[in-house]
Symmetry: C2
Subunit: 739 residues, 2 copies
């Protein structure tokens, strides 16, 4: 799948308790700083040596070789190509010294049996559901890849007038309703972008549409964004975006086994009772084909913000464009293969640092996910080298290559559900890669307690081309965004910039770990212009020509992934800091407060008042609880700093302290889940109900404010307050053990 961009960080700086402590110069060889978060002085030299071995191992050449192998053929989950890739990864992990196995699950998957689409009004014309070959790219001529279809898309046929509904967000459909257009029996034509594609289908289905076509508008990843393939990295007129149409914001994983693992014998919800995937058919479409429909729409010009990049004024319809479509799926429970390998820990073997990356792809998947897989393999090879050179991590490192991510984060979710109890006890952190490289700009999101660790590691790695640390570049970019967007409070005009990890939404395999199991998680990748997402053009040719011709950033991603893992696994004290958490929560609560004001302003300005009056929530209890959390966080961070600088605590006490630190994030889990979405159990973070990809921080409260629902507010505010209090207490317990 993919992720939304975000992220925040500092220079060559070690941030301790939210403050820059000391500028640490990069060493000539690219690594590494003197101090290390979580390490006692006595441990640092051994770690430094192990890291040096590790960092010297990944090479661009080897990453290129991995990518060449991984992109030999399309490898959709459950297919022979997919099994071959999984086996290859397992074998390589074993070769690097890991204890690795295939972990199979049995999950619902659909493949396209027959798809067709044609315009029948104003004139009959077949529309292509295949992608054209490009003369310099041999892969693009292959018909091994499936044609246009949607993962978990429904079988069915439909015929009807077309209505254009922009991005197909909830707001777009509502705006359509306000203009009096009835979607019942119509075909909704929406463009990709803004929200997860499954939610576009869900909104249309709820409004009675007969089917949905989702096309890639040139405004979003075509020529409006830059030169198109094969002259540039952006989407040409014939390329189309496959992808899952699961209703992701209700929960990922096999739709037939919500909350439990898809073992062979698992009890399954019958297909016809599934609520988490569509009942109406849908297809993706290229803009070359979509243009033929869009040009044939009449009705009013589109509202502000709906116009795309094709060279004519868009119309809403309905009609006169009318289409007929047929979608026949081959739907079955099929075997998939996660790959899980381990490097056992020495003194805390039951504390797991988990690294994950999916291996299934919609097509050749050079970017998505094989760039990540190539980096993942290089990280594994380099970690193996460090182990061979004598390094023994304090904690166990688990390396997982997930299957069926593209269908709905299936392999990771089933594994997470399978091992839920064990992971609750053992997981220290989860580090996710998906597409590791589309360009040179680091994107780094995650749970704020990992910020300082991430910035420290990124600060120790030099950008392969630009002569600065990747942390420095990442921070500068974030600072520019902050500079453009952050409201300026006139009472505190010069409030300083502080880098932050943007919150994780969904769309990749961290979801089960952070949202369902409360495990601190990070997600990162190097980004650039990328317009061939989920098309057959996501091939080795694209990567060699545009994404990372020298494979420098593939190797860099391997180093960042492995370095963070080595520090998480090697540190004497689990390397978390909580002041950044308090700072991020304060910002997120401010955003929610502004959203509540916005809802009141909108209601006051509306032509007719909304059904329910907008909320005027009492934020004081939340602000007070957050204040307590902030104080406890600062106290704990100071105690950890002192401990690490002073050096030393008895080993048992250290184990207790580490257990206490691992317990903090779990306090944010609520057993009942957030309102209406029981699978999502993290009280602070979930993908938005109506966004899928993008995070809604404080999701229950956000929902209450959005829906103007006092009862939801009361229930969710109670959950947040309880969780904040429990986490504050956990911080206090850890602090007691840090002395």
């Amino acid at each position: 799948m993919s992720r939304l961009t975000g992220g925040g960080s500092a220079l060559g700086i070690r941030l301790v308790a939210g403050c820059a402590l000391a500028l640490l110069p990069l060493t000539a060889g690219g690594a590494a700083s003197e101090g290390r978060l979580g390490f006692l002085p006595a441990s640092i030299e051994a770690q430094r040596q192990a890291e040096a071995t590790f960092l010297a191992t990944p090479t661009p050449e080897q990453a290129r070789r991995w990518l060449r192998r991984l992109t030999e053929e399309p490898h959709v989950a459950g297919t022979p190509g997919d099994r071959a890739v999984a086996t290859f990864i397992r074998d390589k992990l074993r070769e690097f010294g890991l204890d690795a196995d295939l972990v199979p699950y049995h999950v619902l998957l659909n493949y396209p049996k027959h798809v067709s689409l044609r315009l029948v009004e104003p004139a009959i014309q077949d529309l292509s559901l295949f992608e054209d070959g490009q003369v310099r790219d041999k892969d693009s001529f292959s018909r091994d890849a499936f044609p246009a279809f949607h993962g978990y898309g429904a079988s069915g046929s439909a015929a009807g007038q077309v209505v254009y509904v922009n991005y197909g967000t909830e707001e777009d459909y509502k705006q359509l309703e306000e203009t009096g257009v009835d979607l019942r029996g119509k075909i909704a034509l929406v463009r990709y972008g803004k929200v997860f594609r499954g939610l576009k289908v869900r909104e249309a289905q709820q409004r009675g549409a007969g089917a949905v076509l989702i096309y890639s508008d040139p405004a979003d990843d075509g020529y409006v964004q830059g030169d198109v393939y094969p002259d540039g990295p952006m989407r040409p007129p014939t390329a189309l975006q496959r992808g899952s149409v699961q209703f992701l914001s209700l929960g990922p994983g096999d739709p037939q086994t919500p909350g439990v693992p898809s073992t062979k014998e698992a009890k399954r919800v019958p297909r016809e009772k599934l609520e988490g995937i569509p009942r109406i058919p849908s297809l993706p479409l290229s803009y070359g084909e979509a243009e033929k429909i869009l040009r044939a729409l009449a009705g009013p010009n589109v509202p502000s913000g709906w116009q795309g990049g094709l060279p004519f004024a868009y119309h809403v319809g309905p009609g006169p464009a009318k289409v007929e479509m047929v979608v026949e799926m081959d739907e079955a429970v099929r075997e998939i293969w996660d790959v899980v390998g381990k490097i056992p820990g020495s003194s805390e073997p039951d504390a797991w640092v988990i690294l994950g990356n999916h291996h299934d792809a919609w097509t050749y998947g050079a970017v998505d996910p094989s760039s990540g897989t190539a980096s993942f393999l290089e990280a594994a090879r380099a970690l193996g080298a460090a182990v061979k050179a004598g390094w023994r991590p304090r904690r166990t490192i688990v390396m997982a290559a997930w299957d069926a991510e593209e269908y709905g984060l299936v392999g990771s979710t089933e594994w997470g559900e399978d091992l839920a109890k064990e992971l609750s006890q053992k997981a220290v952190a989860y580090l996710n890669l998906d597409s590791s490289v589309t360009g040179p700009n680091l994107s780094l999101d995650g749970i704020p307690s990992l910020r300082d660790l991430a910035i420290e590691a990124a600060g120790d790695l030099r950008d392969p081309k630009r002569g600065k640390s990747i942390a420095e570049l990442w921070t500068a970019k974030q600072r520019k965004e902050w500079n453009g967007q952050e409201p300026i409070p006139l009472d505190r005009p010069d409030s300083p910039f502080e880098p932050h990890l943007a919150p994780l939404g969904s769309g990749s395999d961290y979801t089960v770990f952070v949202d369902h199991l409360g495990i601190p998680s990070l997600n990162f990748g190097f980004e650039g212009k990328y317009g061939v997402y989920h098309s057959t053009l996501d091939s080795l040719f694209w990567m060699e020509k545009f994404g990372d011709p020298e494979f420098l950033y593939h190797a860099e991603a391997a180093r960042l992934l492995g370095l963070m893992a080595m520090r998480l696994a090697g540190a004497d004290v689990v390397p978390f800091r909580y002041a950044p958490y308090a700072a991020v929560l304060a910002r997120q609560l401010d955003e929610l407060r502004r959203f509540a004001v916005q809802e009141r302003r909108t209601a006051a300005a509306a032509d007719k008042p909304p059904e329910r009056a907008p909320l005027e929530p009492d934020f004081q209890p939340l602000l007070a609880a957050l204040g307590e959390f902030r104080t406890a966080a600062a106290d704990l961070d100071a105690a950890l700093d002192a401990l690490e600088l002073g050096g030393g605590a008895a080993p048992t006490r250290l184990a207790q302290l580490n257990a206490a630190l691992m317990a903090v994030e779990r306090r944010f889990l609520i057993p009942a889940g957030i309102h209406g979405r029981p699978w999502y159990r993290h009280v602070l973070y979930a993908p938005g109900v109506t966004t899928g990809y993008a995070s809604w921080p404080l999701p229950g409260l956000k929902l209450a404010v959005k829906e103007h629902d006092t009862a939801i507010w009361d229930g969710e505010a109670r959950k947040v307050l309880d969780a904040l209090e429990a986490a504050t207490a956990a911080l206090g317990e850890a602090k007691q053990l840090a002395h």
Copy 2:
């Protein structure tokens, strides 16, 4: 010319001292409320009767007849067609009972003698500088209109590689420099929009460009905004935008006579010494032709925000596209003809309420300005009817139809400079129309002391189609914009919406009155989708098909113009209120404070520090002075309310009070002008140095913050403080007389 949109207002509400006092119902006939700002109870009934006569007079049918006559032929300033229109207006004003005459000036004007443009690389191709005819619109086939040229554009020929520079704003040229592209000897290709076209040429000239091509991108007023002519109101591929390339932000009017009137004998600056108009040639271009150049540009993809609406990725260049252009102008001092008519005042004949609208047009000018002229004539006809029915305004109404506005607000500026002393003593207010109708949405900008008067009048007029007062619709629109844009201060989350008049920048004839003479001014029009600005398609056909098919809004504009004039001229007490002024200034000062923070943030985030450190201005003295102004404003408003409700003051005392009220705005004039722009003498408002159209409130301070210049800040802050103190004192003097 044109104006930027803005504006703000209330419902059927009378706003007194910034508060809603009473909801006043619309009467069935469309007018009018019970109370009237500035009227003593004894005067109201006579006024009401006169207004009823006035309001019953304008008709859509007559407005259509005026427009048909006015658009018979192109009427560029100084041409026979222009003189014919001026004479027609004079005769009509006389017919309506006004004492009207032509007022000639002798000003520099250029007409195109020969223009040509061709692409010479990568292949030779002539580019059209004419506009194609459209089969259903006879006017569009006429070759009476001049081909592509720019008012005050220079003669010259140029050949060179093309460089694309987006909108050609100062920021765009700076960004180009940062990428290392040298403009010297190149041809800059920029698109219309964002800033006044003359400033696009000025920035290019300063950087050594050989010439400038300014084209209309479909993103800005073509198909991206809606269906194109003849299917819709937006710009088709062949239409081009003429217009002046004067450096408007340095001062309008005849470039050869800055600050003094262009009488026949006036001393003139020689052509070669003129600093306010270009020395390098420039031409406008349609997007159909510009596409041929843009497709032939190589170099990097454009930066973010530079991509337009043509269906390919734009490149910066330079080249390989190379063009040759030849521009030969026929430049001469030519006679122009303002038309000025009067309705003499009864008790205060030396107090003038001035109404103005230009009559010259680049082409047929159905919208610009003849829609305004049609409304202006209907207003004159209806005022004449009221006078014939016995109404005698207390003050003199002056109605002026300006010439040569299109070249640089020439007719109005020369008249204003000519009568500067008299206007300083006599002018109460200036009401401007330019294009009165492109659609149904009222846009209303101006000096804030006129807000309550404007909202009251607009509240008494019912929208011809939507069943609400035009004030109500205007306010609702402004509220929506406010809701989307206004920062939400979390310490005052529910600070209420208050309608405001947006500040006047430049681009129409109010400029000399407000910026040079300190006369409270308003500018308004009814707006909609309009993509044929300054093209030959700005014709009767366009207006009848898209702009105002029933001419309802032409008549409405006549009513609004005349009603405001009748109240300004008829009120016992000059109907100004100052609390809105204080409120607007507070917002504008807050914006400036945020801008100062932004400059500091940007400097702190920059790769290399700026040459001069950003300012950290001390805003306290300004905030304190504004506080004094606010208090004095509230006191005066309360005294005026009491006076009007209580009824009565001795006539001499009333005359003194009115003189005192007229004197307030003049206190904001500074004899030396604002820094670097001596012609602009209003300390609070001027067009931006780098915008031309858009206002910079507190322009001297804005410049200082933008340039990081402490010396400018110190000088300009002193001027603002002195002016604010003087205005505060003037409010106090008026208040003494209001008791």
